[in-house]
Point group: C2
Chain length 601, copies 2
């Protein structure tokens, strides 16, 4: 690789932080001295004031232009005919959008989009399908998905088809694929840098942020043969387990469009739930892969940090923009409709050894082949309650039904006694905001945009706008490490291989309501492997009756438990999460395969 290769250009783009940030003091001795003190980044105020005038005059026009570009890029001929939506109020009705594609799509497109990514790459590689055929099918279905859920944040259908055509020509000429994902349409969460495109991460100020190169993972997937055809929505600041941002508004849940798809990988959850993407890519620092996967009925893997590169994205891995925060690590990982497809992503990605030349932060652990365990070889702990907020009735029932099926199949099922979850969640909340919300407040103040309700909530996490001293922060960092060790000791001493736990207190909630992250953020602070999966159980208002006599143990439980609405939840999929130890993605996916076969039977 030479310095001026696109690859190395990409990295210097993301990683020239030292130069961007250096306060160059050319001393007499000719040495360049490093100092943050007069670094302009540190001049900004730390409390946020909305600026309606600035916002209206400078930014709202940019928002409107951005929205219009999405409308213009939608192929009208693929839209759902109005008669099928007559009298439907998507935002308020319990409307199940997942039933629509079968009524609209041609037979071939339906067949293709109902296939797994693993099946599709095999059929493209064998010449049974062309990438253009497959991409066209997903463009048709993605048009429907966007129309019904508003999952798209940037539409790249034209570009995707052009790329598919290119790949088909290479295959026709050489008889070879460019990589294990040759010709496969892959949807991308919007906040990863995309070459030559605007990348916002849900921040209005970023509507002028044209990123010159792909993020490292985007680039890697492209080199593996992926076809990018859509970038999907994420909420303002990326810190909601929900979807609202001031640029494209809210995203709807495919199973009930009046409910939330979860977040922050909101669009990825929705497009995957609509089967309008065979493979999707999310990021997760507090539940952002797991919540959307669970609420939208799909699978999602949150790997241990530093296995998949975060380099080159708004809100993470931006050394050049000073936003790497190490208190809690963010993970990137795949979302899909089958376990096999999660493994397809991980194996293809890690076999390319991105740690050699793409991102020095990655640990050099290739994809390790491990055997599929027999049910009898698995000991799984079930988490019925984290000791802070009792899960809603459909979730408790799903845990019991899954436990019963696993037990019947020979799995050694035990009950997991939760351990100091509230303390861990509090440490996590402090570390989210331990820079006094500096990096996010700075972005908000650039546009003066109004703050969404859940943004206000997230900005109050931990110490809020107070920037901790390193001495104070080390208290939490040390406690984090202590809990990581304590949990490793607990897994060992209790002889448990995996846990099955709620992904959230309930099924898909009403928009902008989720406050408690403990069921997911626990595993971010501990940096353990998580696979979210559909329990095959659906909320049923006739069985999952709300316990009106339940006495909440604390304010969090009082708020969160009372969010349960049996009528609204009826028919929602219950997504649970398999929790493994650090760095055990290979074992977790093999165990997941066994569990999914058992509970699907």
């Amino acid at each position: 690789m030479t310095t001026d290769s696109p690859v190395s250009t990409a990295y210097t783009t993301y990683h020239k932080g030292a130069h961007v940030n250096t306060n160059h003091k050319a001393h007499a001795d000719g040495l360049v001295h490093f100092d943050h003190a007069t670094e302009p980044l540190y001049g900004a105020e730390t409390t946020y004031q909305e600026n309606p005038e600035l916002y209206q005059t400078e930014w709202v026009p940019k928002i409107n232009a951005y929205r219009q570009a999405i409308v213009d890029a939608i192929p009208k001929e693929y839209l759902v005919p109005q008669e099928l939506l007559a009298g439907v109020d998507l935002d308020n009705d319990n409307f199940n959008a997942t039933l629509i594609p079968a009524k609209v799509l041609d037979e071939e497109s339906l067949k293709i989009t109902e296939s797994t990514a693993t099946e599709l790459v095999a059929k493209i590689a064998s010449g049974e399908y062309t990438s253009v055929q497959v991409t066209t099918a997903f463009i048709k279905r993605a048009t429907i998905a966007h129309q019904l859920t508003n999952c798209g944040m940037e539409i790249l259908f034209k570009e995707g088809l052009a790329r598919a055509k290119e790949l088909d020509e290479i295959f026709a000429k050489t008889g070879k694929t460019v990589g294990p994902l040759h010709g496969l349409p892959v949807s991308l969460k919007e906040h990863y840098y995309f070459k030559g495109r605007v990348t916002t991460g849900g921040y209005v100020c970023n509507l002028t942020n044209v990123t010159p190169e792909h993020g490292v993972t985007t680039l890697t997937l492209e080199e593996l043969g992926a076809v990018f055809y859509i970038r999907t929505s994420n909420p303002q600041s990326l810190m909601h387990l929900c979807s609202y941002n001031n640029i494209t508004g809210r995203t709807r849940n495919p199973w009930n469009t009046s409910l939330s798809p979860g977040g922050s990988s909101s669009g990825e959850g929705a497009i995957s739930g609509m089967k309008a993407a065979p493979l999707s890519v999310g990021t997760d620092i507090g539940g952002s892969i797991r919540a959307p996967a669970a609420f939208c009925g799909g699978f999602g893997l949150k790997p241990t940090t530093h296995r998949i590169s975060m380099a080159g994205g708004v809100g993470g891995g931006e050394a050049a923009y000073n936003t790497i925060k190490e208190g809690v690590g963010c993970s990137m990982g795949p979302m899909a409709n089958s376990v096999e497809d999660l493994e397809l992503f991980m194996k293809a990605y890690l076999d390319s050894e991105p740690w050699v030349a793409k991102d020095q932060q990655l640990i050099p652990v290739p994809w390790r082949e491990v055997p599929v365990p027999k049910p009898q070889e698995l000991t799984i702990g079930i988490v019925y309650d984290d000791g802070v907020v009792k899960p809603h009735p459909p979730v408790v029932r799903a845990l019991k039904e899954v436990a019963a099926k696993l037990k019947a199949a020979g799995v050694n099922v035990v009950e997991w006694e939760s351990y100091e979850v509230y303390q861990v969640a509090e440490i996590c909340n402090v570390l989210y905001d331990y820079d006094g919300n500096y990096s996010s407040l700075k972005k908000f103040s650039t546009s003066g945009e109004p703050l969404a309700e859940l943004t206000k909530h997230a900005l109050k996490f931990g110490k809020g706008d107070y920037s901790l001293s390193v001495r104070e922060a080390n208290f939490y960092v040390n406690s984090r490490e202590s809990y990581r060790q304590k949990y490793q000791d607990l897994f060992n001493s209790r002889g448990v291989d995996f846990l099955i736990a709620p992904t959230y207190v309930g099924t898909a909630p009403k928009p902008n309501t989720v406050h408690y992250w403990g069921y997911t953020s626990l595993w971010n602070l501990l940096d353990q492997t998580c696979v979210t999966f559909p329990s095959r159980v659906f909320a049923d208002k006739n069985i999952d009756v709300k316990d009106v006599d339940y006495k909440p143990r604390n304010e969090h439980e009082e708020y969160e438990y009372n969010l349960y609405d049996a009528e609204k939840s009826h028919g929602s999929p219950v997504g649970l999460t398999l929790v493994g130890r650090r760095y055990t993605e290979e074992k977790a996916l093999k165990a997941m395969k066994v569990i999914d076969e058992i509970i699907s039977a």
Copy 2:
């Protein structure tokens, strides 16, 4: 493993930080809230005042008792006869202690102690030697080493022999070894927790710090069959590239007892240089393995962080004591007299998979077998000057002679253009002290002990006693990551596999003089693999003449370059350092083997 196994006890001992530190506020809701604010640790003042009265009355007696215990534990019959030292002033004469053992030791002890660790474990495992034989030989030589260099900080000869006897009995009974290090004497740097012993890390206040369990690496080595017979010296606060502490004073350099052995693994450098330990274990956050190895003529490996466990040691890995600082990571690694022995340690250690149950911070990368490269397959960059401080004449000559030999052997040798070393070193200095020296000042204030000159120097690094805010610290953390990526890009774009660089500006310096760490700390901040090795070149006052006309480029160079004293340095070994990429310890040791064969020929 059960919760009450010694292993898990050990970890809860080190890792109960969350509990030790928690400010328990039993709220009405029954939840335990986490807060650092009233954490007693944060009450202490941040500027240090010596307290002579407290020190004299409470601590000096403890120091004297500690010293007496060392004297009492030395077997007088093994001491060097006075006639051999007649008229010798160890502290001021250019006295070469490495020549003494051959004049004193019996033939068998000499033969054993001149063997490599690899040879010894093989001979113990084959029954040719017993562990008692081998341990006795090293006890004899260690007695001489301590007498001449003051390398010992705690003498465990009795305990070592008892353990050796135990292992011999197991072997006699079962015909099996307990592990790959069965019966091998291993010396330990003093700051790792040792079960039931005082662990100081050079802090007087820690003379009452009896550590209930071994540190994780100590425990692991013991499980692998190691025999511990001596714990060796480290300087006050562990932050000198030299040796002085108020408990045992200074340690001498084996090759010239009036010079420094380097530090902070001072005693390990000296005992290894005296061949009084077949395998030693150092830690390195700024050069603490490499400087002693270089100054004492041995080999030392500074691995990438999180390959060897730091859990359970003063000044690092102490979650329970709030001293984990993540700005710059500390590495533990082996020191020895051959490349093979470094590999023996790494392979034995990593094959035991300590990441499964011992330390969750370790990355799960086992020892990977890689082929020994042909000289023609290696491209090595030579660092003649880091652009800040020009190396002393013996070091420059060693670099040229090594480069010439490698070239002649077919290695592709290129000149490495140094890149922004001063900036990287400044970032590193800020991150060393970014908690405002809190964790060290707190320890000093407990005893009121006087500060050593080099401690005062280290406390002034970066922002000194000013505790950065997280927001300020993130500037340096982001810049660190940028430089790590930049250096990976440089290695790739320049097509270089390894660098050979000075370990320090010069050979072993006079005590308490080293101020500039750039040649070593650069690789700590970048977290790259380093192997320090003897160049087989020795300083020669007749060849390595000081350039009196040299015009220093800056204050650092003016100070450091002028430390060169051709007379004093005469006969000192020049230790250089092989620098590899992150996580490439396997490749680095194989390359080191090839290089050592070439330059030793």
